[in-house]
C-alpha cells in the first residue's frame, strides 16, 4: 500500500500559551513494500508524524493519502485505516491489560469484529510470528520478561493483518538479546510477508542494517531523504542535528585516513568485517 503525505503541518494546543508546531510542511511518498528508517532527535516530530498515518491525530493542515485516498474523507472508515496501517507505539508493553497473553493479542481482531474463526487463526499466527508458543497463551502478560512483553504487544498489532507496519522505537530499553529478537522479527515481516515497514529509531546501527531508505527529521521538517549511503555520507550535517553515522563508519573513515584502501560506503559491522578480512594478507 502506498502512502502519500502532502504538506502536512501539525500544531499542538493551537491558540494557547502551550502552542507547539510539531510538524512543518512535511511531504513524503512511501511506496508499497518499502522499508523506511525514520530518524531524528527527540522532539523532532517522528511520533507525531506516524500517528497521522493511521488517523490517530488529525492534521492542522495538509493531507494523508492511502492508495490515493484521503484517510479523513470518511470518518466511518478510520477503523479500517487503523487495521491496514498497524502502529506499534513506543513501549507498547505499557498497553497490555488482559488476563492472558492470548486474550490481549485477540483484542485488536475482536474490535474489528472479525469472525471467531478468523480471530483464533490470526491470534495464533501472530503469536507464532513473534515466537511465543502455546505454553504462553494462558500466562498473564505481566509475568513475562521485558522482551516477551514487547513481542506480545507487537503480536497484538500483527493479529489485525496490517499491510503497513509502523514501529516507534521498538528496541528502546531492551537488552541486546531482546533488541536482536525484535529486529529480526521486523526483518522477517518485511521479507516474508512483504509488509511496508516504517521503523522509527535513533539507533543508526539498527537503521543502517535494515532500511532501504532513510528519512531524517529535524524540528518538524523532513531535512534528508535518501538511501543509507547518501544519508550517512553527510556526517557533518547529521552531527549538526545531534545525530551521527553508525559507529563503524567512523572506524572506516579513520582507517581510510591512515591510507587503508577500504570503501567509504560501509555502514554495518558485517560489511566492515568482510572488508577488513579482505585486506588481511593471508586472506588474499
Amino acid at each position: 500500500m502506498s502512502i502519500t503525505i502532502n504538506h502536512l503541518t501539525h500544531i499542538y494546543n493551537a491558540g494557547t500559551t502551550f502552542e507547539k508546531k510539531a510538524l512543518d510542511d512535511v511531504s513524503l511518498e512511501i511506496q508499497d513494500g518499502e522499508f523506511i528508517g525514520l530518524i531524528g532527535h527527540t522532539g523532532s516530530g517522528k511520533s507525531t508524524l506516524i500517528q497521522h498515518l493511521n488517523g490517530l491525530v488529525a492534521p492542522t493542515s495538509g493531507e494523508i493519502l492511502l492508495n490515493g485516498e484521503n484517510i479523513h474523507q470518511d470518518k466511518n472508515r478510520l477503523k479500517e485505516v487503523r487495521r491496514r496501517v498497524g502502529l506499534v507505539f513506543q513501549y507498547p508493553e505499557h498497553q497490555l491489560f488482559e488476563m492472558t497473553v492470548y486474550k490481549d493479542v485477540a483484542f485488536g481482531p475482536t474490535n474489528l469484529k472479525f469472525s471467531e474463526d478468523k480471530i483464533r487463526k490470526n491470534t495464533i499466527s501472530a503469536l507464532e510470528a513473534v515466537g511465543l508458543g502455546e505454553e504462553y497463551y494462558d500466562q498473564s502478560p505481566f509475568d513475562l520478561s521485558g522482551g516477551q512483553k514487547r513481542r506480545t504487544a507487537i503480536a497484538g498489532i500483527l493479529a489485525m493483518e496490517p499491510e503497513v507496519l509502523i514501529l516507534d522505537e521498538p528496541t528502546a530499553g531492551l537488552d541486546p538479546k531482546g533488541r536482536e529478537e525484535i529486529l529480526s522479527l521486523i526483518q522477517e515481516m518485511h521479507q516474508k510477508r512483504k509488509m511496508t515497514v516504517i521503523l522509527v529509531s535513533h539507533s543508526m546501527e539498527d537503521v543502517a542494517k535494515m532500511a532501504e531508505r532513510i528519512v531524517v527529521m529535524h524540528q518538524g521538517k523532513v531535512v534528508m531523504n535518501g538511501t543509507p549511503k547518501e544519508i550517512f555520507s553527510c556526517v557533518e550535517e547529521l552531527e549538526k542535528m545531534g545525530l551521527a553515522a553508525p559507529q563503524v563508519s567512523y572506524v572506516v573513515r579513520a582507517l581510510r585516513e591512515k591510507g587503508f584502501p577500504i570503501s567509504p560506503d560501509i555502514f554495518t559491522v558485517e560489511e566492515a568485517k568482510n572488508a577488513l578480512l579482505a585486506l588481511l594478507p593471508h586472506n588474499s
Binding site: L56, L87, F89, H94, Q95, F97, G108, N111, L112
Partner: protein
Amino acid sequence: MIRDITLGQYYPADSPIHGLDARIKLLLTFIYIVTLFFVNGLVGYVFVILSLAAVIRVSRVPLRFMLRGLKSIVLIIIFTGLINLFMTPGERVIFQWGFLTLTMEGVLFAFQMCLRLVLLIIGSSLLTLTTTPIQLTDAIETILKPFARFGVPAHEIAMVMTIALRFIPTLLDETDKIMKAQQARGADFDSGSLMERAKSLIPILVPLFISAFRRADELATAMESRCYRGGEGRTKMYVAKMKRKDYQAVLLGVVYIACIFALRYAVSAGIPFFV
C-alpha cells in the same frame, strides 16, 4: 486533546501580587471570601468590585484568565440564581404562575447570590493564578503546622498535595498515549451502548493504574534513597520571610475589613444613601 484540561493554572508574571508571601495571599483570600457574605447594599458591592478590580489590575493577569474559571461553574450559577429567584419569600409580587411566584425580593436576592458566587470564583482564581502550586502547598503546610500537635499531619498533607499536583500532567499525558495506543488496536471509545462504553474503559484504566503504581513505587524509592523520612526535623530550602510589602498587604487587608463593616453598619443603621 486531553491536554486541554488545565489544572495548575498559574499565570507567570512579574507583579507585586505574584511577589507576595503565599501565606499572606492565602489568608487575605480567606478573609475576602468570608467578608463576601457580610457585604450588603449597593455601595458595599461597588466597593468590593472596585477593590477586586484594583488587585486584578496590579496582578497583571489578563481578565480573560479570571473569567475562564467562571466557565466551568456557569451551570451552578444559573441554578443558584433560579432557585433563589423563585424560592425567596417576599411581598412585592411581580407575577404568579402556578406554584411559581416571582417577587421583587427574589430578584434582588438571586442577583446578590450570583454576584457573590462570581466574585468568590474570581477572587480565588486570582490566588491560584498568581501563586505556584508549590508555594501554595508550602503555605498550607505552615498554616497547618500549629495543629500538628493535635494530630493533624501537616507535612504529610502538603507532601501528598505537591506530589499529586506534580503528577496530574504526567497522568493526563499517559492517558492520552494509552487511549491512542488502544485506538490503534481498533478500540472505540465514543460509540456503543452505555454498557459497551463502560467496558471500553478497562483497556485504559488497567494500564493507567499499573503505571501509576509503578511511578509511585519508583518515586518512593527515589525519595528514600535521598533520605526522606517525613517532616520531622526537615529544614526548608527557601524559608518564607515576611517582607515589608507583606506587612503592607496585611495592613490593606485590615483596612478592607474595616470598610466592609463600616458599610454594613451604615446600611443597618439606615443611613439614607447606603440602603
